[in-house]
């Protein structure tokens, strides 16, 4: 089978996935606006159906249905960077590096979105866009670490060595996350506790839980779709470089033959 057919076939799968994600996203957004009860906040200790801190309807709380899956995808993406980096150093196979690189880009994107949605929530809720809360700071540090990773890749003088060193950075970056996390927790914290994952069982009402879990699935699908697209681009870049090298290989065209009268 020619590489082109393979690409086309995998392209069909990707398109189907993208369509599913799009539909899922619409359904999810509809659920957020029309199904889950408003004024039911995710802060523990507040009675079901009660507004959080004041009597106004608490629409802003709904951003959590986006914020949480985005944060989860960011972590998932950086986990994949770790796995891809380890596998690349172990095997030296280019596709692992392409995987890690793609996942780092998507991870940075989602970390950025996570910070953004968090800030949109923080402004009305905490009265400020930004505060040096531990989770915010941790997310910000993660963002910096992986932006550094991408920057490094962009500036590497030799792509192969750059990929290998980037893998080392990707590994240490991830190992560093729990350390940064604890340093931030001990430093200070304001962040709402996780409610969905709780040893005492979910405390959210069914409609909210289902919406949240549904969106987690949709966002995972989005991540996979983006990964498929980005790794395909990575392989295409690779193939292009190969082709250029092969072209260089071939003897130069006999221009002088044509030039002879």
């Amino acid at each position: 089978m020619s590489p082109l057919t393979t690409a086309r076939r995998s392209g069909t799968g990707t398109m189907v996935l993208i369509a599913l994600v799009a539909v899922g996203m619409v359904v999810g957004i509809a659920a957020i606006f029309f199904w889950v009860p408003t004024a039911n906040c995710l802060v523990p200790g507040v009675a079901d159906g009660q507004p959080c801190f004041d009597a106004r309807p608490d629409y802003i709380q709904h951003i959590f249905y986006m914020h949480v899956p985005i944060a989860y995808v960011a972590y998932l993406a950086f986990g994949v960077v770790l796995v891809g980096s380890l596998a690349y150093l172990k095997t030296g196979r280019r596709r692992w590096d392409i995987l890690a690189h793609a996942s780092a880009e998507i991870g940075v994107l989602f970390t950025g979105l996570c910070l953004l949605t968090g800030m949109l929530w923080g402004r009305p809720r905490w009265g400020t866009f930004w505060t040096w809360d531990e989770t915010l700071t941790l997310t910000f540090v993660l963002f910096l670490i992986y932006v550094g990773y991408l920057l490094f890749r962009g500036l590497a003088a030799d792509p192969t060595r750059g990929a290998r060193i980037a893998a080392v950075i990707g590994i240490f970056g991830f190992v560093d996350v729990p350390l940064v996390h604890f340093s931030m927790v001990w430093w200070r914290t304001l962040h709402p506790a996780e409610v969905v994952i709780n040893p005492a069982g979910p405390q959210l009402p069914a409609s909210e839980l289902i919406t949240m879990l549904f969106l987690l699935v949709v966002y995972t699908g989005l991540y996979v779709a983006l990964m498929l697209l980005r790794t395909r681009l990575g392989r295409a870049e690779e193939a292009l470089a190969e082709a250029e090298a092969a072209l260089e290989e071939r003897p130069p065209p006999r221009a002088h033959v044509a030039a002879t009268p």
Binding site: D158, P159, A241, E244, A245, E248, E249
Partner: protein, 202 residues
């Protein structure tokens, strides 16, 4: 001793070596001729394990070069000497790294005729002197395989004439890359000519 199969090395999209096949038996002196940019340095560095092949293999005694590096000597364009250490401090450091003693370092220095400069700091040496100290660095552990890249450049007549005695030894495989046809031919058991990353004559 050295087996090279379908060896190709690219730098970005530029090809430095294209599908080289070469066998060098133990104890042979092979001289590689070629113009600048013909791939000599790349080939030498690939045999030393300083570069990785893009494709193909290099084996030294049946193993990847990095695994036999203790028995390999290398002299390239760079001296690999520390400018603020003296000649003997540099050589003793490398002697220890190669698990031999200070006596071997002194011996190697004697062989290249630089004993009188042993306490001089490397950055005060002339280019030719530095080159000779680097040669001592490359041979102080008495390697079984010696790879040298352009050893004659920068040396005066006397030093260049004394060079083969230092490089050659019974049973040592020697690979010399040079564009100095005359001096190269004088030491060669076999000659390989590289042109545009391919062997054009052997």
């Amino acid at each position: 001793m050295i087996e090279i199969r379908r060896l190709t090395r690219r730098f970005g999209s530029a090809r430095a070596l294209s599908g080289i096949d070469l066998d060098i038996p133990t104890g042979e002196t092979v001289v590689i001729f070629g113009h600048n940019g013909s791939g000599k340095t790349t080939l030498i560095k690939l045999i030393a394990g300083l570069l990785r092949p893009t494709s193909g293999v290099v084996l030294v005694d049946g193993k990847p070069p990095r695994e036999t590096r203790g028995r390999l000597g290398f002299l390239g364009h760079d001296l690999y000497l520390y400018p603020h250490l003296s000649v003997s401090e540099n050589l003793v450091l490398f002697a220890r790294l190669y698990d031999v003693g200070a006596a071997e370092a002194a011996e190697a220095l004697e062989a290249v005729g630089m004993s009188h400069k042993k306490d001089a700091l490397v950055h005060t040496l002339s280019q030719g002197e530095g080159q000779r100290v680097a040669l001592a660095r490359a041979v102080l552990h008495d390697p079984d395989l010696l790879l040298v890249d352009e050893p004659f450049s920068g040396l005066d007549e006397t030093s260049a004439a004394a060079l083969p005695a230092v490089l050659k030894r019974e049973g040592r495989t020697l690979v010399v890359a040079t564009h100095d046809t005359e001096r190269g031919k004088a030491i060669a058991d076999r000659i390989v000519v590289l042109e545009n990353g391919r062997i054009s004559a052997a």
